[in-house]
Symmetry: C2
Subunit: 290 residues, 2 copies
DNA sequence: CGAATCTGTGTAGTAGAACTACACGACGAT
DNA sequence: ATCGTCGTGTAGTTCTACTACACAGATTCG
């Protein structure tokens, strides 16, 4: 599993390619979905080159042959074409926009999955398991992630907070003692307020887990830094995928910690989930999300 | 694009299959990743049947042949194997759990994408464009979606609210007038409090958009019902994907509405995003998410 | 400035793959 | 008990991916 999609790979290398291979690249980029169902001869024909050229194109990309290339391309497409390759146009109908946004989200989460540093995640889990209490801090979209993490508090098994107010965040950080953990969330990793809160928490003796979109001040500051790589939000139309990646990470952390806490803890959770069904009219207690 | 993954398709049909085809199904289900790189002869061999049987298996599933089947399988796998087919075990290492949760999330969002009723989304956009103000209501995980929607309020271009408190939600609903829109979010679609709020909003003359995980009381009540199909959360280990699907939908609605509001509105948005950079130490104004 | 080499491309051939027509055996029905 | 049908494997065919080789153009070195 590489951390780059086939489409990215082609785009990146096409200027280093030989002229005729570049023709193939153009043909693939023009209509990737069609290429998936083509034979080698078909692609060679539409690109206006010979079959061996297509073959060289595939091997040059690192694939063992045309078959492997086609398979890889199919997988990249399944996960969705990022908006980098199909931007959202103002006059798109709603269906097209929905499709593009879902595609972009999926491919972006796919990148996060591929580039995720599992060792860092494991370290974070270890830290959280040892924690006596956990504080989630973040502003804006990252604040949403913090609030969502709080909803999973029962899974973490220790008292959790996620103050929405910045001052309250700072107060919580300042009152931290050893054994407490602060999870600082910021996609940019350079939101000054969050950095200040984090610094204060460290000084107070708390362990800091940073959740960020890339290296930066926040990651440097933290004891454990989890980087969530997504496709950058360059355009105004571009949906903000970073918060989704954050939520998935919350899922991972919460379940991993819950599992580590042992079967007794899980049993209590199950009972709690069943009890939640009183808020619903039907007696269907198997569902667990409102 | 069908709304079922290949793995689901096989699982669903395997009891209606002929004995030898069932062998093939078992072989595929046992190690789908390996099958992707097999030849027809290879699969026939590991399943203990002849090549034409494999062929019949593929055509029986609705594929034109083995090639098409293998391609479809590859795409299903790229999107991730849902936990239905690879459950989370308590003694999984963190890396495995992270992988499975990401896989499950991706495949679940893929299902949402495939089964999304774009006509309903278009209708919702239409309703929102006409709105004089919008209120988002929901509790628990769905409350998170409401809060996230509020973060996109600027995109909607009209005053938005998303009260966290249930009573405040009810009050907002009761004070609605014609032209106002209530977006009611509930994955189960049967959370009684949310139903009450929604009913009250309708009586007050507001248009109601329901965001729910399936048909039910809430969907019946709404003027426009958007159903987000995900993989059901049956297990306690299972991550809760419904909120992610909700967030993506929020993205879709927000961008679609913003685009519909015209270029002047978009220009104001761009300026606002640039202004947001003052909260960051660096002068990097191109990023837009904290 | 010319010859040699090397890079880039297409041609021809081959092994193997996917797909198809057919035949055999087993089971159920009349 | 025999006929028919359903399920399965065998043998053959076509088309596919892949490979070895040869030619043309550019480049470089004598």
């Amino acid at each position: 599993m590489t951390d780059e999609s086939v489409l990215e790979l082609i785009t990146g290398r096409q200027d280093r390619m030989r002229p005729s291979e570049r023709k193939v690249a153009a043909a693939v980029l023009a209509d990737p979905a069609a290429v998936v169902h083509m034979s080698m001869a078909g692609l060679a024909d539409t690109a206006g080159v010979s079959e061996p050229t297509v073959m060289r194109f595939c091997t040059g990309l690192g694939f063992s042959g045309f078959q492997a290339f086609r398979l890889g391309l199919a997988q990249s497409l399944a996960v969705g074409i990022p908006v980098t390759h199909s931007a959202i146009e103002p006059d798109d109908p709603v269906e097209a926009m929905a499709g593009k946004i879902f595609d972009h989200t999926l491919s972006s989460l796919d990148r996060t999955r591929r580039s995720l540093d599992t060792a860092a995640v494991a370290a974070a889990v270890e830290t959280l398991v040892r924690a006596t209490s956990v504080h989630f801090v973040g502003l804006g979209a990252s604040g949403i992630i913090a609030q969502d993490a709080l909803q999973h508090a029962v899974l973490f098994g220790v008292p959790c907070t996620a103050p929405v107010d910045l001052h309250q965040q700072y107060m919580a950080a300042a009152m931290c003692g050893p054994g407490e953990v602060v999870v600082a969330i910021s996609n940019t990793g350079r939101t000054t307020s969050v950095l200040e809160v984090t610094e204060r928490a460290k000084r107070a003796g708390a362990a800091v887990i940073a959740v960020t979109g890339g290296p930066g001040p926040l990651a440097d500051l933290a004891d454990v830094a989890i980087v969530l790589r997504t496709f950058e939000d360059t355009d105004i139309y571009t949906p903000t995928v970073s918060r989704l990646a954050g939520l998935v990470l919350v899922d991972v952390l919460a379940t991993a910690v819950a599992v580590r806490r042992g079967p007794a803890h899980l049993e209590r959770l199950r009972e709690m989930k069943e009890a939640l069904s009183v808020f619903r009219g039907s007696a269907d207690g198997s569902r667990n999300v409102t």
